[in-house]
């Protein structure tokens, strides 16, 4: 669960929602508290303006008393806003708790806590004051207005609580929705996984259903299917290979067991026994050769590469090979023509082995008296050598399989002692060990088989 993509996505959605709501709440809070402060200010400023107007424009006679009456009326109409007058003249002194307010003004503060209501409770008030110099009968007077800050604070608290609750609820909702969306979005992955789980060794032909997959998963599915194809091919090759090995080993083993049993079933003289031993030895040599070649191929497949590379002329190596097989060519009345040359770094004995197998292959599959054409080509990256001989055409689908172990075009296994069907696979192994490839063509009555080697290791 802790690695569930759905959970992780849900958590990420929740974090995103939390950040969003917090930012939004913060901005709204700022705006609201600004607005509230401005509103307070306006209320105070309005009262101050009224007071200043009354003080400067009222008739001087009995001004103090009239103003106090007026302020009483205002105070009764709006208990949240209060007014004070401060002067030397007792007629121009007005307001409850005047000394506390005067002290706050003298200290330069813009708020004061006053006991308000019944029972009295200390309540914060925002205060502001103005001053008028003495004028005619009126003495110098300081006029003060205050507004109860508690309702504004209360509004702000309520708003904060609402934002917090909204944020929490929104975050939870985003997480839940996110999880749900992720589950739906990941549905194809789950189906893909179910689909993949049905593929087993007994059902190797099954593949993932690609058309059912969304675009983002189609590539993954295709890669997965391709990997399955490769594994399946390797698996099948291994299976046929084991079959072939068993078959190739079975014949010599059967011969060994059979003729030894026959020999032992009667009294034999030394000459007869020697015959049996010699025949056994031939079969055993065949077994040994197969095992040695199989190990060679296995090593090549495990990635063993050619060593002790020597830059050599391929034409010269072909020459040596022709010299080696000269007697066989002679017996078959065949000749070899070599065209071109290239110099490549090779492990000589491996390379000669490949050339020998190719030439031998050409000799075996040609009519007596024909000519084998050897072509050597090179470019800056690789050098290739190919052997062409006149022969019956080979079907295109058979060509790549020529290099398979134990593969024979005519598929009737000839158990001639000298060819156990690994010749061309060894050529391929040698090519691979030199970072090269093999190729085969069949056209115009000529079969061409060859391989290349890389010029740089």
């Amino acid at each position: 669960m802790k690695n569930s993509i759905a959970f992780r996505l849900a958590a990420m959605f929740a974090v995103a929602a939390l950040v969003g709501f917090a930012l939004l709440g913060g901005v709204l809070h700022r705006v609201l508290s600004g607005e509230l402060a401005r509103h307070q200010q306006e209320q105070i400023d309005g009262r101050l303006e009224d007071m200043a107007y009354m003080l400067s424009h009222g008739r001087p006679t009995g001004l103090g008393e009239r103003i106090r009456d007026k302020l009483d009326t205002l105070g009764a109409a709006d208990p949240r806003t209060r007014s004070w007058l401060s002067s030397e003249d007792p007629a121009f002194r007005y307001g409850d708790d005047l000394p506390m307010v005067e002290a706050a003004i003298a200290a330069g503060r813009d708020s004061v806590e006053l006991p308000i209501g019944t029972p009295p409770r200390l309540t914060p008030m925002r205060i502001r004051s103005g001053e008028l110099a003495a004028h005619g009968e009126r003495p110098a007077v300081r006029y003060i207005a205050g507004v109860d800050a508690a309702p504004f604070g209360h509004t702000l608290r309520t708003f904060e609580t609402a934002v917090l609750l909204l944020t929490l609820a929104g975050t939870a909702l985003a997480a839940a929705l996110g999880y749900w969306i992720a589950r739906i979005g990941l549905g194809p992955v789950e189906r893909l996984s179910d689909d993949a789980q049905r593929i087993g060794p007994d059902d190797r032909a099954r593949r993932l259903q690609l058309p059912a997959l969304p675009r983002e998963l189609a590539d993954l599915g295709a890669s997965f299917n391709a990997a399955l194809d490769r594994l399946d091919a390797a698996y099948r090759q291994l299976a046929t290979f084991s079959d072939d090995v068993a078959h190739e080993l079975r014949t010599p083993l059967a011969n060994l067991i059979g003729q030894t049993q026959v020999a032992l079933a009667r009294e034999r003289n030394a000459v007869e026994l020697r015959e049996v031993l010699q025949s056994n030895l031939e079969e055993l040599e065949r077994l040994r050769a197969i095992v040695a070649d199989m190990l060679f191929l296995a090593r090549a497949e495990q990635g063993v590469r050619a060593r002790d590379l020597v830059a050599s002329s391929i034409a010269q190596e072909v020459g040596k090979t022709v010299e080696f097989l000269d007697l066989l060519l002679d017996e078959a009345g065949m000749s070899v023509q070599v065209e071109g040359d290239a110099v490549a770094p090779i492990e000589t004995s491996l390379f000669r082995r490949a050339l020998t197998n190719l030439l031998q292959n050409a000799i075996q599959h040609s009519r007596p008296g024909s000519r084998v054409l050897v072509r050597i080509d090179g470019d800056e990256r690789s050098a290739a050598v190919s052997f062409s001989n006149p022969s019956a055409p080979i079907a295109p689908e058979q060509l790549p399989r020529l290099f398979d172990r134990f593969y024979r075009v005519d598929s009737s296994r000839r158990n001639s002692g000298e060819n156990h069907g690994l010749g061309l696979s060894i050529v391929k192994a040698v090519a691979v060990m030199h970072n090269g490839t093999v190729f085969a063509r069949s056209d115009d009555g000529m079969t061409t088989v060859g391989f290349s080697v890389a010029l740089k290791a």
């Binding site: 030895l281 070649d293 090593r299």
Partner: protein
Amino acid sequence: MKVLIVEDERKTADYLYQGLTEQGCTVDLAFDGIDGQHLALHYDFDVIVLDVMLPGLDGFTVLKSLRSVKNTPVIMLTARDGVADRVRGLQDGADDYLVKPFSFLELLARLQALTRRGRSQETTLLRVGDLRVDLLSRKAIRQEQRIDLTAKEFALLAVLARRQGEILSKTVIAELVWDMNFDSNTNVVEVAIKRLRAKIDAPFGQSLLHTIRGMGYVLEDRSATEPE
């Protein structure tokens, strides 16, 4: 030739013992690394055949302790064909290396090569029965008749004559005559032998070039022992 064989596989040890004894060698056997090391360190042998996988002490360990004391030639035997094993064996001071399954002939040839080292004063005129092979003038003469041979035929005859009495496998012949040092599945050697035989044996009645079926060929004069 005094040979020590250190090999835990009983059948292998037995046939090596019999084969080498019949070739005129004096053979001692050890069936595990500990005995093998003891014998190798306390007695003198001309050559030691040492298996890699041994109970007690493995072949590499035996080889190391031997090499810290003396330089007896050692051929390592192994069923594993890994390059790493081969390199390790040779680095530790083995003189040669054979991978199972190996042919007895090859082992014999390698043993002889190891013990022959250093004393290869060769004569240039070889005689096999009434056949004379002159390596310098590259002539083969039998019963006073010059035999006309191609270059390869002479090379083949020279290889066989130098090692007369010794069975040479097809692989060895291919290597010595054509410089092809791999197991080829061709019958080139058979054809070459057939042609050589037609020239050096057929006209003269008495055969010198013999086929040992399943093993190889040997050039020797058998007229004294078993008339054919």
